[in-house]
Symmetry: C2
Subunit: 111 residues, 2 copies
DNA sequence: ATAACATATCGATGTAAATAGATATGAGGT
DNA sequence: ACCTCATATCTATTTACATCGATATGTTAT
C-alpha cells in the first residue's frame, strides 16, 4: 500500500535523473525511436531501456511500436498532470497565509 | 562541475521524497518552526534537519532564525522557478511538432 | 556558569536506484 | 530456416540517498 505522498514522489522521480531530462528534451521536438535517442546519450542500450520504462510508467512519455522500432513521445496529459501536481504542491494556502511572515512560539504552542 | 541537466534534476530531487512532500504541504499554511514540523512526522530530529537542508538548498524553502528556533516557509520565487522549469521541460516545441505523430525510419536517417 | 532546549553536523548502516554486460524476444530481410 | 537488427529483461555491481544515534553548536533561563 502506498500513500499519496509516496505516489506523488514517484511522479517527480521521473524528473530526477539527468539522462531522463535529456530524453524528455529530445522528445520536445517530436517523436523519436529508441535508437535515435541512444545515439545522443552516453549510456548503453539496456540502461536506456530502463529509463524509457520509468518515463512511460510515470505517464510522461507514451510509446508505440512500428515494426522493429519503438517510438517514444511526450504524453500531453501526463505532462499536464505533473504540472498541475507541482502547482498544487507549491501554492501557498491564501487563507492561512501569515501576515507577519512567521509564527511566534506562543502561536506554535511551544512555551 | 555540473551541467544543466544535473542542476535541474536536483530541483526535482527536492520533491522526490514523501517526507519532504509532507513538509512542503505543512508549509502551505504558513511558516513553521522545525519542532512543529517534527511533531507531525515519524522521523527523528537529525533526519528532519537533513530534509530541511535539501529543501532550503533547492530554493523551495526559506528559513530564518529567531532565537532558539528556526522558522521555515515556502519561498515564492523558488516555487515559481520550479514550476517554470517543469513547464519549460514538458512543453512540446510547436515548430517541430510532427503532424503524423511519429517519425518514419527514413526521416530518422535509419535505413 | 551551568542547565535545558532547538537545531545542525558527523559517522555508520541499510536500501533504492543507475549502470553495464549477457541473454531473451520479436520483427524483417535473405 | 537463418541471420541481423531493435528493444526488453535479467543479474550483478556500484553509487546515491534516507535514516538513525551520537555529538557539536548556539540560545535562553536560572
Amino acid at each position: 500500500m502506498e500513500n499519496i505522498y509516496e505516489k506523488n514522489a514517484k511522479v517527480f522521480k521521473a524528473f530526477c535523473d539527468p539522462n531522463r531530462l535529456m530524453i524528455i528534451e529530445m522528445l520536445q521536438s517530436g517523436e523519436k525511436c529508441a535508437c535515435k535517442i541512444l545515439e545522443d546519450l552516453n549510456i548503453v542500450q539496456s540502461t536506456l531501456s530502463h529509463h524509457m520504462k520509468i518515463l512511460c510508467e510515470s505517464g510522461l512519455v507514451g510509446s508505440h511500436h512500428a515494426g522493429k522500432w519503438t517510438h517514444y513521445s511526450l504524453n500531453k496529459e501526463g505532462c499536464e498532470k505533473a504540472k498541475n501536481l507541482l502547482t498544487e504542491i507549491t501554492t501557498l494556502n491564501k487563507k492561512c497565509e501569515n501576515k507577519k511572515g512567521w509564527v511566534t512560539p506562543d502561536e506554535n504552542g511551544n512555551a
